[in-house]
Structures are given as C-alpha cells and as structure tokens.
C-alpha cells in the first residue's frame, strides 16, 4: 500500500513538472508574449521604447533551459519575480492563495452539499415531478453565465467579495454534482439488490446509506477531483467579476500580460491540486469484491 502511494505521488509530481513545462512552452509561443503595452504609448520616444523592449525581451536560452533554471530556483524557495506586478511571485501567491482556498473551498462544500442532498432526495422520492423541478434548477444554474451570477450575488448586497465568489462557485458546482450524482444513484437504486432490500422492509435510512450511498461512493468521489479543477477554473472569472483578490484574479491578470513566472507557478499549484485531489479520490475509493489488477 505504502509503495503504491509513493509510486502514485511520484507520478503526480512528474505530471506537475511536465504541466509547468507545457505551460511555459504555450505561453512563450503565444502571440503577445514579450510585448509591453507601453510600446504604443506616445509619451515614449525611441530610446524609451528600445528600453521597454529590452526589458520585456525573453532570454535567448530556450524554453527547457529556462524552465530547468526556474525549477532550480524554485527548489530554494525563489519562485521568480512577476513581470506584471513587479513583486516576488511567492509573496503574491501567499497573499492570494488563502482567499481562493476560502472561496473555492466554501463553494465546493456548499455546492457538493446542495447537489448531493438534492440528488439523494430525488432518488429516495423517485417522483418525476421532483426530478423535473430539480433538473430545471440545475439547468438554470448551468445556463446562467458566471458573470451574471456574480453580479447578482454582488447586487444582492451584504455578501462581500469573498462570500459572493464562494456563492457563485457553489452555484457552478451544484448542477454538475447533482446531475452526475443523480445518474449514479439512480442506476444503483434500480439494481436488483436494492429492490430486494426494499421488499424485505429495510429501513429507509439504512437503505440509503448501505445500499445507495456506499455502493455509489467510489463513482461519485471521482467527481471530486474534477470539481476541484472546475472550482478553481470557475474562480478565475468569478474573482475577476467580484473583485476578490484571489488566485483566480491573479491568473487572469497574468494571462492578459503573459506573465510567464506567475503563470508557471499557478499552473504548478493547480496541477498539484488536481493531481492530489484525483489521487485522494482513488485512495478513498472503497475496495469492491473481486478486482482485476
């Protein structure tokens, strides 16, 4: 078990490092990289523009050597200087990470709770009208742009940027969790052993826990890893709109300015979170009967 865990962690780490390299390559090759908006500012003369271009020019070393150099510095705690904020990336991440953790974490918790409760209720009641209503609610939140949700939250007033961001993330997560959990729970509920248990008069709560939730847990938990990525992905437009000073807002500004050090670091963080959440979902998966290797 321990060996398997070490192996899994190693593969996650390698994936994270590869993710950083791919991000570096994509950013370096994208249009607008190495361009400073001040190049079109008429206040700057020839010398000024030349200096701006020199400052913004990427090193001529190549993507892989630069990336390895970056990793070497990162190993000592130096995550580089943000080209757009002119501050150490480590300081920026330290400031912004708690905000996003808070809003994404709260959003995930509320979104999962609401989605699961509704899915369980729909499965337990097994009424088409309830299914339709719950499905309609889920569809509504899926179809509303996060910008509109964010504005609605802010307009509702009194929520503050962090809570508004958490609320919007919850509304983004909830329909996905509901839809998926409903499908899994519905399939399990139609299984013969559940029908047998119901016929034998097993109490509802025991039926729910032992015969519905436990057998479906593995499949539902798989969504956890994906929903962490979805939550952090949703955090970007939501934090920008709610002006919540988190990682999402940082990532958006970094993307607009092609801030390479910041983008690599954010990719590493998100890759790590995605990898660990996926790993956690696999580890938490209850073992089931005979499994082929």
């Amino acid at each position: 078990m321990r060996a398997r865990l070490v192996r899994s962690l190693t593969t996650v780490l390698l994936t994270v490092l590869l993710g950083g390299l791919i991000a570096a390559a994509l950013v370096r090759r994208s249009p607008g990289f190495g361009i400073d908006e001040r190049e079109f500012d008429a206040r700057y003369g020839e010398d000024g523009i030349r200096h701006i271009r020199e400052e913004a020019k990427p090193s001529g070393r190549g993507i892989l050597p630069d990336y390895l150099r970056f990793l070497a510095h990162a190993a000592t705690g130096d995550l580089g200087i943000s080209a757009s904020f002119h501050r150490p990336v480590s300081a920026l991440l330290a400031e912004r990470f708690p905000e996003t953790m808070h809003s994404a974490g709260a959003g995930l918790a509320f979104g999962w709770t609401a989605g699961m409760l509704l899915a369980l209720a729909a499965t337990a009641l097994a009424r088409p009208t309830f299914d339709l209503g719950a499905g309609a609610a889920a569809a509504l939140f899926l179809c509303l742009p996060s910008s509109v949700l964010a504005l609605a939250m802010m307009l509702a007033g009194g929520l503050g940027e962090n809570r508004a961001a958490a609320a919007v993330i919850a509304l983004v997560i909830f329909p996905r969790v509901f839809r998926y959990a409903r499908a899994i729970l519905g399939r399990t509920a139609a299984a013969p052993h559940v029908l047998m248990a119901r016929a034998k008069g097993v109490p509802p709560l025991r039926l729910l826990w032992a015969h519905l939730i436990r057998p479906s847990a593995a499949a539902i938990l798989a969504l956890l890893g994906v929903s962490v990525s979805v939550a952090f992905g949703a955090a970007i437009p939501v934090e920008v709109l709610c002006d919540s000073p988190g990682l999402g807002q940082l990532a958006w500004q970094a993307a607009l300015k092609r801030d390479l050090p910041l983008l690599i670091d954010i990719t590493l963080v998100v890759s790590l979170l995605a990898g660990i959440s996926g790993l956690a979902a696999d580890v938490l998966r209850p073992s089931r009967g005979v499994e082929e290797s």
Partner: protein
C-alpha cells in the same frame, strides 16, 4: 416512446428548423441596423425588439441558435466521446494504462490551454470568415475538454468492471471488446448522458468568456454566448424582460436534451 420525450424531440426539431430557416423567418437578417429604432420594445416588426444598434433581436436569436445549437453540442459530443474512450479504457484495463491516462487527464485539467487557443487564432488569416474561426475554436474546445468527462467515466468504469454481471459475462467467455460494447458501455450511458448534458451549456458560455480574449464570435455574427453576456446589464434586463429570451431558449433546449438523450427511467 413516452409522450414527454416525443414532445421534446418535436420541440427541439422545431427550434433547429427555425434556426436553419432564419433567412425566411427573419429576412432582415442579424446584421442590418435600423438606426432610427435602437433599443425599441417588441412589436409586430421586431418580435423581440432591437438591440443598441437597432438590430432585430429575434433575428439575432435565430441566427445565434445556428452557431450555438450546432457547434456547442458538437463540441460537447466530441469532448464526451474522447473522454469516454480515454476514461473507460483507463478504468477497464487498469494497470499502467490507467496510471498514464490518469496523469494525462490531470495535465489536461491544469495546463492553461487558453494560450494554445490564442496561438491557433493568431495563425489563422485575419480575413477568415467568423463562422470558420468560431468553428475552429469550438473544435479545439472539444478536443481539449475531454479530461473532465474522462475522469468521472474512468471511476465509473473501474467501479463497474467488478460488478457481478461483468464477472458473470467474463465467466461465460465474453472477450474484452464484447464486454465493453454490450455490458459496460450501456450501463455507463446515464453517466455519459450526464456529462454531455452538463457540457453543452458550458461550451456555449465559454464562447462568451473567450470573447474577452478575442476568441469569441466576431461581429456581426451573433451567438448565444454573446447574447447571454448582455444579461450582465441587470437594469436593462429588468426594464426589458424580453432580453431574457436567449436564456429561456437555452433552458428549453437543455430540457429537451435532458428528456431526449437516453437515460434510465428512475421512476421505476
């Protein structure tokens, strides 16, 4: 076929037909600007009023449906299909195949593919037609968006391969491909449907978000994404509730997909 499902099919077909027939239904077109009538209320001439430039909102909704109703479900289907192949394959075969594919999924979920979209857009000629440009964007979104569905399908497949019916089928001598085709995939259909269903609005809305980076639909072509983005002006929406029409239509289409795409009847 259940009556509700039949009705959903008819309604969806009617919407698609209306979108395809936009040229006859709204002959003024989506681009023509009636500059003396900007922002007018619905009337006989303008069924949903006009926008800020005097363009017929009903025509723009119909023409926008063509873009969004064709490209978004296609991108969602592509993402779900690729996700199914990767996820089910990883979950079913396990071992090093599963490990490798799981890590590839993690990569696809975390790398900023946005920059690939920007690079591809920059490589296209400037005078490319708006429909071609947005078509390429949706194709890329579909090819890049497979990791989410793949992850959940992987877990579902892993879970299902040790079910009794699978063990029985293997014991009876079913080969791997037959097991996949006749036993695993049909039972994964609800999960596949759920993934497809949640992906369609996601792709429609992502087109609007990508518009901020110049990757959305170019003027004057409308899309549901850029029509829905107009809902941000809440004052305008509250005073002109017909501006909610794109949202209502999207909800109707989503409901139709929900009823049409094969799923288990949970009411049994």
């Amino acid at each position: 076929m259940k009556p509700l499902r039949r009705a959903a099919i008819i309604l969806l077909a009617a919407i698609y037909l209306a979108a395809l027939s936009a040229g006859w239904i709204a002959p003024a077109g989506y681009a023509r600007q009636f500059r003396e009538s900007p922002g007018v209320r619905p009337s006989a001439m303008f069924l949903l009023g006009t926008d800020e430039l005097g363009r017929d909102s009903f025509a723009r909704l119909l023409y926008g449906s063509r873009v969004s109703l064709t490209l978004a479900p296609a991108a969602a289907a592509l993402a779900t299909l690729v996700g199914a192949v990767a996820g089910v394959g990883a979950g079913y075969w396990g071992g090093w195949i599963d490990t490798c594919l799981a890590r590839v999924m993690d990569l696809f979920l975390s790398v900023p593919w946005l920059f690939l979209l920007l690079t591809v857009r920059a490589a296209l000629p400037l005078n490319v037609r708006p429909l071609e440009s947005i078509g390429i964007t949706f194709l890329l979104l579909g090819l890049l968006g497979w990791a989410g569905p793949a992850r959940v399908l992987r877990a579902a497949a892993r879970d299902m391969k040790s079910e009794d019916f699978m063990i029985q089928a293997r014991a009876r001598g079913c080969g791997p491909l037959r097991l996949l085709r006749f036993h695993l995939l049909p039972n994964l259909a609800p999960v596949l449907a759920a993934q497809f269903w949640t992906s369609v609005p996601l792709f429609i809305l992502s087109e609007a978000n990508l518009g901020f980076l110049g990757l959305g639909v170019a003027e004057p072509l409308p899309s549901w994404g850029n029509l829905l983005a107009g809902l941000q002006n809440m004052d305008a929406v509250s005073s002109c509730p017909w501006r909610l029409a794109p949202l209502v239509l999207l909800l109707v289409v989503m409901a139709c997909f929900h009823l049409i795409v094969p799923m288990e009847d949970f009411s049994k």
